[in-house]
Symmetry: C2
Subunit: 451 residues, 2 copies
């Protein structure tokens, strides 16, 4: 089945299914074959659920045969980061100790996707505990970057980026605490969306930080991200931070003319030392945007300090995750790496004064970031300061310095690929619930060409 | 001037001003005289700003004389709890160390009231640091309860309840972290409103807990609370938790027929041992409501535990306040009571794991409380388990066990007086932004009589 071309776009697949050019079972079989052929090397999947996936695909085909197809995701194979519960599959969170931990039911977001007919192929590798961005997982393997052999796919949703980049699925779910959807999107050359805080319910997610975590899709196009997020969004009665989207919310990419559009270039861009190729690609993108009539405006984010933001976000993540699994850390012995255990114990033992100050810092930084959007259509930044780097080389401390802003501010952000041989990426951050607007701007920017 | 009758209702005062039956200067003079005559005994005001108040009153009268009166609060004397900044007056927070701390400008909510023409008489006594509910303040005096001589007015906004109950002002601002507006309203026999989280901006408030604090008015009627909150509400660009009210938000009490209304009686009511007179008055209120056609429905709040809620709210308050003024605690020596210092140092030194777990508990409890409103028009509870008690007797640990729910859930709550010789009170909790609805129900309930 490896000779079945792997389609890269769920929108196209949905068209093929609707026209009868393929079937959900054929799509699932092709994907499962490709996973089977690659996973030994690539370590992208932790769990492959061939049997249930084929059954779901057959059910989809049966629905379609009687004219009862459920919508654009019906019959489309997808995969889920392994910190999000899927009934019948372990939720390892990338942690050895949780290898056999079976959830009682689907996470809210998985239930929504399942109800829309998506076929769930399995669970994706991630950085241990979602706390880190290389996905060189000590228990579940060194996840390969299919577009940059030998390099990290980023993380913590490394398997999600790799699964899309490796043409194993067209849509994968990731989670994003400080950048964990967008960094792998950048390193793997895919699109990634971190939605507005509260838009996608998080019950059934093994939180790293309930304050910062969001669940978002990775895919190969703005259209596919929109299809996914339209189904993922919705009130989750078991998530204290779940919110109703405005009545007119619509994530479909808004057709955008760049002429007259105002893009804010935050001062943080100059405060982080980027790999030269990242900065060059970003500057070239801004130049193309200006050629197309966009206005680039320098914007300051009052009080923003990348080190302060990073430390506060990390400390809160360590304390929150530590409070949730501290008992396991103390009792399950060797099921956690020393590094991971050390991070969480640091948060657990930090003083209440420091923890409260970190929450306060996040509040103030978030407010400043939201205010930086006054008078601009979106902020535009590189996604990560560097491109994918070789597995085994030390992880830079600044991987999330451009992405954490959207988490801290609770705002939506889209990472999208830039031209070049090796994956490179830019990022747009917009106002709350502006997913459709952001996707439209990103689409327009990604279509600009040098004149 | 003490022979000028002290009007108890700002709505009536506004009518008198509009009709030319009195002037803002006359009202301010009468109030200042009454304060001067009582404050030595009552210790209700920490700062009295006679000169600026009279100037503001004269300006109000001048506006009115040329037909430019600003609205229902123009020329009405009000007073502000002394943890909210008013330019030109110290913000002591009820703490000795801060006796001379002058703020640079008005708090956002004070600026709104000032812009509406309210005349600010001064700053009101409170429990030290707003952390406690007796207002027996070691630095600024034992605040008297004008309706129950020798007893506490409650707290932490004890001065606010006492100022209204003592007919010094018709509207006073308080702050409410776990019940600090509603407890003094209950003990003093006034009305008190804790608004929806984020509705009233909190910049310029000396936070006890930025997570739980809200600013709300105390007054002698639902109508007066509505007049005050209508002006107090509004986006505050320097408050990270400020939110826009829905476009149709209106706090004016909604005329309410109790017939068919569904009032939820939360299980917490039976979980707290009340003073018999409190429980009797509450039960009698429910009986009257039923006689008027209301349906009383028992509702469970999933996982609610008064001890857990109290401990989590207290720990977060101690840690948050501790993180804000920890440096002062360490360096300003004797300017804090040992008790207050001990509470904050406890929060400062608690482990990150405990602090994060407390935040998580608040999140889960808040969700459960919001869900308890499904299918009911409001929750109805006693306001406090006890009535005002003698100054000097030990403060019960359960003072906030009925009020903390609304803070933890971010919901609006109204405390209103019940019949009886000694002040007694019930409380309604409603859905977000339902201030007008709650005030209307409270008004209707307060008009029920035994048949």
């Amino acid at each position: 089945m490896m000779n079945t071309p792997a389609p890269r776009d769920a929108t196209a697949l949905a068209g093929d299914l609707a026209a009868g050019r393929t079937s959900a079972v054929a799509l699932a079989r092709a994907a499962l074959d490709r996973i089977a052929a690659t996973n030994g090397d690539w370590k992208i999947f932790i769990t492959v659920a061939a049997e249930s996936a084929l059954a779901e695909a057959a059910a989809s085909d049966a629905r379609r045969a009687i004219g009862k197809a459920l919508g654009p995701l019906d019959g489309i194979p997808i995969a889920i980061k392994d910190n999000i519960d899927v009934a019948g599959m372990p939720t390892t969170v990338g942690i050895a100790a949780y290898r056999d931990r079976l959830p009682a039911r689907d996470a809210a977001v998985v239930a929504r996707l399942r109800a829309a007919g998506a076929v769930i192929l399995g669970k994706l590798n991630l950085h241990e505990g979602a706390l880190g961005a290389t996905t060189d997982n000590p228990a579940y393997g060194r996840c390969e970057n299919p577009r940059v052999p030998g390099s990290t796919p980023g993380g913590s949703s490394g398997g999600s980026g790799a699964a899309v980049a490796g043409d194993l699925v067209t849509i994968a779910l990731g989670t994003d605490t400080m950048g964990s959807v967008r960094i792998p999107a950048a390193y793997c050359g895919t699109w990634g969306l971190k939605p507005t805080k509260g838009l996608v319910g998080t019950s059934g997610l093994a939180y790293l930080s309930w304050t910062l975590d969001t669940i978002g899709p990775l895919a190969n196009s703005a259209a596919d991200l929109a299809i996914a997020i339209a189904i993922m969004a919705g009130v989750d009665s078991d998530d204290p931070r779940s919110v109703d989207a405005p009545p007119n919310w619509n994530p479909a990419p808004v057709a955008t003319d760049l002429a007259g559009l105002v893009l804010g270039r935050p001062s943080v861009v100059d405060a982080v030392a980027c790999e030269p190729e990242v900065r060059a690609a970003y500057d070239a993108l801004l130049a193309r945007a200006e050629q197309a009539g966009a206005i680039i405006r320098d914007v300051a984010i009052k009080g923003w300090d990348t080190g302060k933001a990073r430390r506060a976000g990390l400390l809160i993540s360590e304390a929150e995750a530590g409070s949730l699994i501290g008992h396991d850390l103390d009792t399950l012995g060797g099921g956690f790496s020393d590094g991971f255990r050390g991070f969480l114990n640091y948060g657990r033992k930090a003083s209440g004064e420091r923890i409260a100050a970190a929450y306060h810092a996040l509040d103030r930084l978030g407010l400043a970031a939201r205010q930086a959007l006054d008078g601009v259509d979106a902020l535009i930044l590189p996604t990560a300061p560097q491109r994918a780097f070789a597995h085994g080389s030390p992880a830079p401390a600044d991987q999330a310095d451009f992405t954490a802003l959207a988490n801290i501010a609770g705002l939506p952000a889209v990472a999208f690929p830039l031209p070049g041989d090796k994956p490179n990426s830019a990022q747009l951050v917009g106002t709350a619930f502006a997913e459709g607007r952001l996707l439209g701007i990103a689409q327009a920017l990604s279509e600009t060409r040098d004149r």
